[in-house]
Every structure is written in C-alpha cells, then in structure tokens.
C-alpha cells in the first residue's frame, strides 16, 4: 500500500517557501522543468486545505459544514474567514513580487 506523503511547502534549510522545479508524467516518463510557483490553495496547511475541500463538497453551505463537523456556525464561518484572509495575503504577496 502506498504511503500518503505530504508535499513539503517550506524549505527545511532556510524556511522560505518552496516552488515547483520539475513535473513528471508517470505514464510516459516526460519531464518538464521550470520555476513554477505553488498555487495559493496549495500553500495552505493540510488542515485548511481539507477544510476548503469539505466546504466545496458541502456545496458551500456553512450550515452543512457546521453540522458535519459538530461545530457552531460562527466557528466554521470564522475558520473560513481566516482561510480567505490567508489566501488574500498570498495573492497580494504574489502581486508585489
């Protein structure tokens, strides 16, 4: 069974954000090299990314999310607001680069 591995996003040596250097096709062994920035959503923590995925699977209903997570509506909304704020900050940092 293949072990689930988390993609590292932060350099273990200097602590800066990592970017994608190479992409590989497992089918035909084609390799593409370049310097690609990680999409904003990929820069979220694993928990936050899971939350976004669950939110989409709940058709974007915070009430449904709150029920599924056994949390109150404002707790779930606050978490979403925090994620939105992180994504906005990623986007604005990207624009300023």
């Amino acid at each position: 069974m293949e072990k689930h591995r988390n993609m590292p996003k932060i350099c273990p040596s200097c602590g800066n954000r990592l970017s994608v250097r190479a992409l590989h096709c497992g089918e035909c062994d084609t390799r593409v090299e370049g310097d690609y920035a990680l999409p904003s959503i990929m820069r979220l923590s694993d928990d936050d990314r899971r939350f976004v995925l669950d939110f989409v699977l709940c058709s974007g209903s915070l009430k449904e999310m709150a029920r599924a997570m056994s949390l109150s509506y404002p707790t779930v909304r606050n978490r979403l607001d925090d994620i939105i704020s992180q994504l906005k900050s990623f986007e604005s940092n990207e624009t300023n680069r």
Partner: protein, 189 residues
Amino acid sequence: MKRIVNPFRYVAGVESLAIGAAGAVATAGLSTLSGQSFDGILHVHFAGTTFLEALAWQAVMWLVFASLLWLAAAISSTSSVRAIDVYGTNLMARLPLAVLLALDFMPGMEWLREVTPATPVEEIAMHAMSPVMILYAVLSLAVVVWFLYWSYEAFAVSANLRGWRAVWQFASCYVAAECIVRFAVAVVA
C-alpha cells in the same frame, strides 16, 4: 471539557437562544425563591420580586448588553456577523447567573434567604466571617469570573474578534450596559 470551557465553539444561533431562555427562566425562578434580584448586569441585592418581574429584568439586561455587543461587532468585525449568534450566545452565557443564585441554597445559607432590605446590617455582619459564608464568597467570585469569561467567549466567537481589541470592546460594552441597566432600575424604582 472543551465544551464547558468554550461551549460557543459548538453551540450558537437558535440552539444557544433556547438554552439561554431556559436558563433565564431558571434564574428568575431562583431569584423569586431566594429573595435576591439583579439590579445590574452583575449586581445582586436583597429584594422580593415576583417571577415575572425577575424574568422581565433578565430580558432587559440581556437585550441591553447583547445589543451593545452586536453594535460593536457590526462596526468592527470584518466577518458577516449574524445577530442571532450574538444575542443567542450572550443569553446562554448568562447561565452561570442561575448558579450564582443557586448558591443561596447551600447548607448553612438559610439565613441569607430570610434577609430583606429592612434587615439590619449588624445582623448580616454576624454571619460574614462564618466558614460557610467564606466558601459562599469564594464560589460566588468563581461564578462571576465564569459568567464574564463565557460572555467574552460568546462575543469573540459570534463576532470573530480576538486579542486586546476584542477584550477592550467587550469591557466597554459591559461598563456601558451596567450603567444603562442601573439607570433603568433607578428610574423604575
């Protein structure tokens, strides 16, 4: 345990409003039975009140405090704050006040329920240093802290505000609500 420390992470909206309403009824009932009533958000004094009077004052105190908090949240929060969450969680945060009045029914506290506004201070002072009274004072203080902590957490969760800004806003709303309620009590009395 997490549900006791901060229940508002798990309960808000209509559910918290219903729990809070049940708590307000219990508080009004205990107020009538103990002969003590609230004449401020956190100020209790000896006065015989009917159940409906006590319930009406509970409603006034809740509405004044919650309305100020909702106003603060609407002005300063960047989240879309729902009024039902602010009002509901604030009413639920008043549950410790029922516990505060229930302390009057501790063994050894029977004398407190006999006290009226006409009771001489000397008579009350006679009981002041008894071990039961000291325990009562310590427990009362703990319940007051519990009420303030829950009220703050209710505000912080429902308004999505944190840190010193939230603490400052909460404290300002509390002081303003206390002043308004005491003024209202003085006018009605």
